[in-house]
């Protein structure tokens, strides 16, 4: 019981500190960084405290300390799974799918007929539950990483295509006229004006794509995978009731997802420094 009281006390103190700091220093950088971290730590502390206080069996919900211990004890397997799912499956698929989406948009944009015909169709596909192609891709490309990459390619293609097309339309008349008075070719206008102007849209697409990529790669593992990979490991460890290990794998998936999203956001800040949303 005492652990529950500790957890409650920690939560109360964190709550009081957060509301004080948010009012007094809400605009400062340290508050914007440290308060979310404090929130995350509080969730972990309350989790730990309640699992101990209510003596919840490990087969239902292991405490964060146990999960961390499992993480440390099996970094090697976690690394193999990470390479299989995140790097071989998701990352390769992401690169191919995004490149195809952007290139496709550049080509389609060139031909007005294609743009008018393909944009509604692409918008339609972008709203469809494309994860459903996972079993088909596994049937076509086998259990290895190729099928996972293929699912990711199709999943990220449409959001990238739609966003890039919207971005290429984002320049205004005046800017395009200026390029015309410079007698710039289509290619030059594309490279110097329209692609840079499309970057905020492309990065929006990338942010969507990066979260879809991991989901696609893991979902595809449910339809068949070699004896490694994050989705495979989570299911098998659950079956063996080693939940701490399964949670460690979830933690790796969560980290992979948030870190790659953060990386994209950082690159975005660096590339689209001129955009109003990046001004401080």
């Amino acid at each position: 019981m005492i652990w529950g009281l500790y957890a409650l006390a920690f939560w109360a103190v964190a709550w009081a500190f957060t509301s004080w700091a948010a009012k007094k220093h809400g605009r400062s950088l340290w508050a914007q960084l440290s308060l979310p971290i404090l929130f995350g730590v509080t969730v972990l502390v309350v989790w730990e405290g309640f699992v101990r206080a209510l003596e919840i069996p490990e087969g239902i919900l292991p405490p964060p300390t146990k999960i961390y211990a499992a993480f440390q004890a099996s970094t090697e397997i976690l690394w193999i799974d990470f390479m299989q799912t995140a790097v071989k499956g998701a990352l390769r698929g992401l690169l191919i799918g995004c490149a195809a989406g952007v290139l496709g948009a550049v080509v389609i944009d060139r031909v007005d007929f294609l743009r008018r015909g393909l944009l509604p169709v692409a918008n339609f596909f972008a709203a469809m539950p494309i994860v459903g192609i996972a079993p088909i891709m596994v049937a076509w490309f086998g259990f290895g990483w190729e099928s996972k990459a293929a699912v990711v390619v199709v999943m990220v293609f449409f959001p990238m295509l739609v966003n890039t097309l919207a971005g290429l339309a984002a320049t205004d008349r005046m800017q395009r006229d200026l390029m015309a008075t410079y007698s710039a070719s289509h290619f030059q206008t594309l490279l110097k004006l329209r692609l840079p102007a499309a970057m905020p849209f492309i990065f929006n697409g990338l942010k969507i794509a990066v979260t879809l990529a991991l989901i696609g790669a893991i979902v595809a593992e449910y339809f068949g995978s070699p004896t490694r990979g994050m989705g495979f490991r989570i299911t098998t460890e659950m079956g063996l009731l080693r939940l701490d290990f399964a949670w460690a794998e979830i933690a790796v998936a969560a980290l992979a997802g948030s870190v790659s999203y953060g990386l994209i956001a950082l690159i975005e800040r660096w590339v689209t420094f001129w955009h109003p949303s990046q001004r401080r």
Binding site: P36, L61, G132, P135, M238, G257
Partner: protein, 288 residues
């Protein structure tokens, strides 16, 4: 209407490419069969055969449409093979997750707009929550809901659907509740309006267009969540479960019909939501 001809051209060419791909991908099986029988096959025989194989690598469009028709209209609705039955199972968790996601998203957005502490702590974690692949969390959600006492498989599926659908609602609502400009806020201040009055009479009404705009995205996300949620939960009914069973038994037609049923369901849901949105907008007096 100006786009009708280009769109039709694109759709027709997709179907044409699909037919060519079906011949090309299924031809191997036909050739293998012929070789085993010790006979020669001509090109026209290959083309005819690839159009109606039982387990094609890529079923031809008319095969998929025919199978969809058969499983939708020629089976009893209660039959375990009926796509309407499985769509209904998936639709249940989609709608439960959709409603749950809306409530969760709106409540969080209200907290974020009204409390600076929540703005600083919850908003970053809401973004992080979407970068975590929910499918990894799904088995844990099943165990936890089981322990708390929900035996029904609908509950974990609805939670997974809500996990994906609350985010668009949250983002749009935060934007909408903050959309009144300084002039409008100042006016209410000169009226001596309290914080609660500002919220109910200005912030909430001006957030409605943003709210409606998010619903279409949310319902599509909710359907994806419901389908994905059927994979690790051991579901035997529903479109996601059909895909899994079709994959395990190597029956391509089952996977393809489930995929198409899911897409049609998504299109219907988005259509219904946008109709409701238009109706409500008209009732609220929006201009066109």
């Amino acid at each position: 209407m100006r786009n009708l001809f280009p769109v039709l051209t694109v759709v027709v060419s997709i179907i044409a490419i699909w037919y060519v791909a079906a011949v090309w991908m299924n031809a191997q099986w036909t050739r293998d069969q012929a070789e085993r029988a010790g006979t020669e096959v001509t090109l026209s025989e290959i083309i005819v055969d690839t159009m109606h194989q039982d387990r094609p690598v890529l079923p031809a469009p008319h095969q998929v449409v025919g199978e969809l028709w058969k499983l939708t209209f020629e089976k009893r609705v209660t039959s375990k093979q009926s796509l309407i039955y499985h769509s209904y199972i998936t639709l249940q968790s989609t709608m439960a997750g959709f409603v749950l996601g809306i409530v969760f998203g709106v409540v969080l957005a209200m907290g974020i707009v009204l409390s600076p502490a929540m703005n600083l702590t919850v908003m970053p974690w809401a973004i992080i929550s979407q970068t975590i692949p929910v499918i990894a969390l799904a088995p844990m959600i099943v165990i936890l809901t089981n322990t708390v006492g929900f035996e029904n498989i609908l509950v974990p599926k609805a939670i997974i659907a809500a996990y994906l659908s609350f985010f668009p609602v949250l983002v749009s609502m935060v934007k909408g509740l903050r959309s009144p400009d300084a002039m409008q806020l100042d006016l209410l201040k000169t009226y001596g309006g309290t914080k609660a009055q500002v919220f109910w009479k200005l912030r909430l009404p001006s957030s409605l267009p943003y709210f409606f705009a998010s619903l279409k995205i949310a319902v599509a996300a909710s359907l994806v969540g419901a389908i994905v949620g059927e994979l690790p939960t051991g579901a035997t009914q529903g479109l996601g479960a059909r895909m899994l069973i079709g994959s395990q038994f190597g029956t391509p037609m089952m996977m393809w019909t489930a995929l198409f049923a899911a897409s049609i369901l998504a299109a219907l849901l988005i259509f219904v939501v946008s109709q409701v949105e238009a109706l409500l907008k008209r009732r609220l007096g929006a201009v066109a």
